[in-house]
Symmetry: C2
Subunit: 173 residues, 2 copies
């Protein structure tokens, strides 16, 4: 009984602490992206890892996709569609050959994340974004959102994966 | 004053809740790696992202490095040496060309994380691992540790970056 009471007090207090601190998946500061009115979510760099990727060609980057709590739960359970409140962050860095690492391997084979390029977000709100599959899209470089024309390209590019609720990234086990 | 008391109660209760749940950076279940006696840490897949990489050659993988609380704090503050209790996880996946993504780009350019290969851990304990720069090393494939011979190769490979406390990975901003 004492343990139950303690736990109850702890849970209520924990909720108080969480409410007191900045919302991890809430809207952050700064300028909002056009069309979708999305700001950089506070604390996104602390979110959990979905997967990683490398794009060659003009993009030439290394990528990581991070998930807020709602998103990581959906990815791990394999549930579609993603629930409202889902936010996926895509972090892109320059694709850099690591001389330091290559010395150890005695050949050019090691590529690491260099300077940050852009950060992109997909935010699920089936009401607000009903016209774009329930998703809002945002793209930022050095904290500044890309222009309206750039944001118009997001949804068409995600349409081919409508069967996976417009999300390309698969969870990396 | 009431706020201060509430916060104190909340903090004490929060500590209680954290103590009650499974230790995130504690030792997990399963077989321990040889030499260093390290098991797969519980909850490591929830840790925060340090950076990502791609190795060509025989390795041919995509990689992510994750950090427990002690590690991410040290990475972000740029403090060396890493404190005791630091654990760095390195997750390696097959480097897979994504047909689905390539269709969108109309060329072969997109590479994603495929099946998991091995997982590696670096555990800082300056007393226990005094003979290897304060670091213990562990390598697991499908939950099973690699053999003793494989583990003997870890420290020599990390010695070239002694100036960065034997850690190759740099934090990706």
């Amino acid at each position: 009984m004492r343990r139950t009471v303690f736990l109850l007090v702890a849970i209520v207090a924990l909720a108080g602490v969480l409410a007191y601190t900045a919302p991890i998946s809430g809207q952050g500061a700064g300028e909002a992206a056009p069309i979708y009115d999305i700001k950089i979510p506070a604390g996104y760099r602390d979110w959990r890892l979905i997967s990683v990727a490398h794009e060659e060609g003009n993009l030439n980057d290394l990528r990581a996709q991070l998930a807020n709590d709602a998103a990581i739960k959906a990815f791990r359970e394999g549930k579609l569609p993603f629930p409202d409140g889902t936010i996926i962050a895509a972090l892109h860095w320059d694709y850099v050959s690591s001389e330091e690492n290559n010395k150890v391997f005695s050949r050019v084979q090691s590529f690491v994340a260099g300077s940050p390029k852009n950060i992109q977000f997909m935010v699920k709100d089936s009401t607000k974004y009903a016209g774009t599959g329930g998703w809002g899209f945002a793209d930022f470089t050095a904290g500044k959102p890309a222009d309206e024309a750039a944001h118009k390209t997001c949804f068409p590019c995600h349409e081919p994966v409508k069967a996976r609720d417009f999300v390309y990234t698969r969870y990396a086990r």
